[in-house]
């Protein structure tokens, strides 16, 4: 089974600030995991560990059975490219690229795509999947917040990763868009991807398969 396992991870900054304290977490394929907590509790740090965006001070991260703790930057980048898709609170779309071109971004470095035409075709399929075919040629500043986040989700799916990690994906959205985004993430989990969302939005508790609570770097018990 595909999974991301965070095992006994501690993350300390400048030998003084402990953002994570002996945290363990599994993100399994086909499951929707939510990590909740107030700001500064360490949930984003946990997402960074799981997504290989940062390395733990202690502990290990195992992705699909491989301990990646000792891998170099380039190798981690390669794993991220193929295995993990990210969705950020601030969308982080490239303002110089159109919607479909933003979706193309991760595929430009994937050697599995031989031609630009293949990449473009796949991008358009993903844009269509998130219901934005009619907006594919627009720049991010021409899209609403919800539309931008849907483009970001399409981008996260570009290389067909096993896992989607979302950091406060609805933080900048209204409630209608919130529901729509959570709905998409849920459907991704149902399609077989492992989805982890960090949020302080209680609405997520209705749809997540498993909920964790972070407080002062310590992961609380599974409440669901």
């Amino acid at each position: 089974m595909k999974s991301i396992s965070v095992k006994n991870v501690t993350k300390t900054y400048n030998e003084r600030v402990t953002a994570l304290n002996d945290v363990s977490l599994d993100i399994d394929e086909g499951r929707f995991i939510a990590v909740m907590g107030r700001s500064g509790s360490g949930k984003s740090t946990l997402l960074q560990m799981a997504g290989l965006l940062d390395s733990p001070t202690k502990g290990s991260v195992i992705i699909n059975g491989e301990d990646v703790s000792s891998l170099g930057k380039n190798q981690l980048a390669q794993i991220r490219m193929k295995t993990i898709g990210f969705v950020f609170q601030a969308f982080h779309l490239n303002p110089q690229l159109k919607a479909y071109e933003n979706v193309m971004l991760p595929m430009l470095i994937n050697p599995e795509y031989k031609t630009k035409a293949d990449i473009q075709k796949r991008a358009n399929e993903l844009i269509d999947m998130v219901g934005l075919s009619h907006r594919a040629g627009h720049y991010p500043n021409e899209l609403s917040g919800g539309e931008q986040q849907r483009v970001a989700i399409a981008r996260a799916l570009a290389n067909d990763p096993d896992f989607i990690l979302a950091d406060e994906p609805t933080g900048n959205l209204d409630s209608d868009n919130e529901q729509a985004i959570f709905g998409i993430l849920k459907s991704l989990a149902e399609s077989g991807k492992g989805v982890m969302t960090v949020s302080h939005n209680e609405a997520i508790t209705e749809i997540a398969d498993k909920i964790y609570y972070m407080s002062d770097g310590v992961l609380g018990e599974n409440k669901k």
Binding site: R80, M81, N94, Q96
Partner: protein, 450 residues
């Protein structure tokens, strides 16, 4: 990763990029500076240095031995010629042909069939031609290359090559190519300078022996007249063999008149000798050594010191200006790269989060600079081409002969363009390399920063 994918991304990133215009302007100005400023600086410097190093400033004349009641000044002879040639900075020491620097008048022109075509058209007017071509020089070093027709060294005896343009005083220059293939009849303005040997071992000059001569020369080639020459008029060049033949004609002509010139022409030391120095700045040193040898030197034509000062100042000031512009460009580009990386931390972090390596991002950013460089090169070269054409046109039509030298050739323009392109490709790369550590240190989690 395919380069064209990075190229696509770089092009897209440049659209609407705030820094694009300022970097483009800076690079374009740099191209213009290198092509125009450095190009013309190079030309001016080259022309002025060539002028300074013109052969007339590097030649010292030694006349035959002169014996006076108080002293003896020696000419070149068998006992000192090797020593003279061995002096440091002396390129050569050769006898002066009697035909060197002879003023001549062209008084007839014949076509290839021998028909007299003198004054048959305005182009073939001898009055006009003589205003611009009035001198014969022996090209004993065969250094002048014909750009049309034959080379002097391959041409038969009694041939000549003439300059491509004649520059008569107070008149506009004219094309001389109408004379190519024609035979001109020239008349020398005065007799040969012959030296008689005295009983005291010295020589005295005798100018009343030979008569002015008239003979024919076939124009076999056209050479590019070096406009940087200080000569007011341009010259007919003949080979040493032709000069010898003309001497022989003078000798036989004199003999027919009952005058035997054997004693004059067969004594190799009854002549002036020309010592040629390798560089004008060494002429003074060589001249002093020749004087120390008590040789009958006639001195040399020194370069005007103000010219040396001017050349040095011009070169220095121009180089300083060019250096200042390039330094400013480097600083501005470095700051641009620095702020570019800093302002795009979040974007760079995102790229890394998506799986891009630092090398991908580095190459992508460099491709952005290359795209800007190419655009700057096109704009810079276009502006430089227009400006240099205007400058060339102004200089070429100037009444001042020397200005005609200050034109930028296509070759120089091409070389400067290549240098400019290399500079605007290399400098951004250098700036990025300096910043590579900063780029590497941007972490993927920067993407999570709003």
């Amino acid at each position: 990763m395919k380069l064209r994918n990075l190229f696509f991304l770089s092009r897209a990133n440049l659209k609407g990029a705030k820094r694009k215009k300022s970097v483009l302007v800076m690079m374009t100005l740099s191209v213009i500076s290198v092509v125009l400023l450095a190009g013309f600086l190079n030309i001016y410097n080259s022309v002025l240095n060539t002028m300074k190093n013109n052969i007339e400033f590097r030649q010292i004349l030694i006349s035959p031995t002169l014996v006076t009641p108080n002293s003896t000044l020696y000419g070149v002879n068998e006992s000192n010629i090797d020593k003279i040639r061995g002096i440091e900075h002396v390129e050569s020491c050769d006898k002066q042909m009697y035909m060197e620097y002879q003023y001549t008048t062209i008084n007839k022109i014949k076509d290839e069939k021998g028909n007299d075509i003198t004054n048959s058209s305005e182009e073939l007017s001898v009055d006009k031609i003589n205003t611009g071509i009035d001198e014969q020089i022996v090209d004993s070093q065969s250094s002048v290359i014909s750009v049309k027709g034959e080379q002097l060294k391959d041409a038969p005896v009694m041939s000549c090559i003439i300059p491509d343009y004649a520059y008569p005083m107070q008149e506009k220059r004219f094309d001389t190519s109408m004379l190519l293939g024609k035979t001109i009849t020239v008349e020398t303005e005065y007799q040969f300078d012959l030296y008689e040997k005295n009983e005291d071992g010295g020589y005295i000059q005798n100018r009343d022996i030979t008569e002015p001569m008239t003979y024919e020369l076939k124009v076999v080639g056209i050479y590019h007249y070096a406009r940087e020459s200080a000569y007011g008029g341009s010259a007919i060049l003949i080979s040493p063999e032709t000069a010898q033949k003309i001497e022989d004609m003078a000798v036989s002509g004199a003999l027919e008149g009952g005058i035997d010139l054997d004693d004059y022409v067969k004594d190799p030391y009854a002549r002036n000798y020309i010592v040629t120095v390798d560089d004008e700045k060494n002429a003074d040193e060589v001249s002093k050594k020749l004087i120390d040898m008590r040789l009958h030197t006639m001195g040399y034509l020194p370069v005007d010191p103000s010219m040396t000062t001017f050349v040095n100042f011009f070169t220095g000031a121009g180089t300083f200006l060019l250096g200042a512009i390039l330094l400013l460009m480097v600083i501005c580009l470095f700051l641009s790269v620095y702020t570019n990386i800093n302002s795009r931390r979040s974007e760079i972090g995102l790229m890394k989060a998506l799986g891009y390596k630092s090398s991908h991002i580095f190459i992508g950013m460099y491709i952005e600079n290359v795209i800007l460089s190419i655009r700057a090169l096109i704009a810079g070269v276009a502006v430089s081409a227009v400006v240099s054409l205007i400058v060339n046109a102004i200089n070429s039509s100037s009444e001042r002969l020397l200005d005609h030298s200050y034109v930028m050739s296509f070759q120089v323009f091409g070389i400067m363009t290549l240098i400019a392109f290399a500079v605007i490709l290399a400098v951004p790369l250098l700036c990025q390399l300096i910043m590579v550590k900063r780029l590497s240190n941007i972490r993927p989690q920067e993407a999570m920063n709003a």
